[in-house]
């Protein structure tokens, strides 16, 4: 691991999209998964998802799976690079959380 690391801050939507794709999923599946994970708090827009997916593929954080049985529904899955990004993001979130709890003095609900 390099010492110098680009400080990447993911948006909430992208973070959850990456997490959902630890298993292969298609568009609607991703939306459902994120809804589940966030207990309905994060509701994704189709436009947002569409744009995010093409950017994530470009960056090689996820990849599209070759069209299988249901040829119209493209499925995506996270790549090793994407998993690395998620790992770093979780570390960043730990830092934020720890400092928040430290300063506010306890479990802020």
């Amino acid at each position: 691991m390099t010492q110098e690391r680009e400080n990447i801050v993911l948006t909430e939507a992208v973070y959850y999209i990456l997490l959902s794709l630890y298993e292969p999923l298609h568009g609607y599946g991703i939306m459902q998964k994120i809804q589940e994970l966030s207990k309905g708090r994060v509701v994704l827009a189709a436009g947002t998802l569409y744009g995010a997916l093409s950017t994530l593929v470009e960056r090689e954080w996820i990849r599209a799976l070759p069209n299988g049985k249901n040829s119209r529904r493209k499925e995506y899955v996270i790549t090793a690079k994407g998993k690395e990004v998620v790992k770093n993001e979780i570390e960043r979130l730990h830092e934020l959380l720890a400092n928040g709890q430290l300063i506010t003095g306890g479990r802020a609900k």
């Binding site: 609607y28 939306m31 809804q35 827009a45 189709a46 436009g47 947002t48 744009g51 529904r73």
Partner: protein, 182 residues
Amino acid sequence: MKHVVYRLFFVWDFEREQRWLNEMAAKGMMLTDVGWFRYVFQEGTPGEYEYQLEWLPNYPTHPESIAYIQFVEETGAEYVGSFKKWVYFRKKASDKQFTLASNLDVRISHFKRVIRLTGIISAAMLSILAPMVKSSLSLGYIPESYLPNMIVSGSILAFVSYGLYKAISAYRMLKRKRLIQE
């Protein structure tokens, strides 16, 4: 029962147009078709559908647009129709799985495009008007042949720069919001 409404909305007004369509839907009037400033509504259950309006970078017949529309439909939304590069979607309000609404970044880039479009038209009108104004000033009067041109381009300039102003205000407001939240 079918209702046809004629209404004028301009490119910088798209969020107002969307609000209007959703207000109509809340009252039980569902948009089923669009055309030249022409909206066709069907009576239905109030609040059954939510509407979303998007300005695509290409015409709906372009492969990119087709792929995008297909994607949105696969998430469970319905494609209502299109007018130029504007596409209209709707989804059942009861389906809480997703929203059609755009996030801040999408809205910001939307207004950026409106600014670009109205800016270009304004600049074009200015380039037509400026030489005429200049020679009129040096002559001390406005030549008759200039008059129609000046009136037309002047009116367009006033109208479009108003739209430009509105788009810039909306853009700035959204950018300020974006500083704090996603």
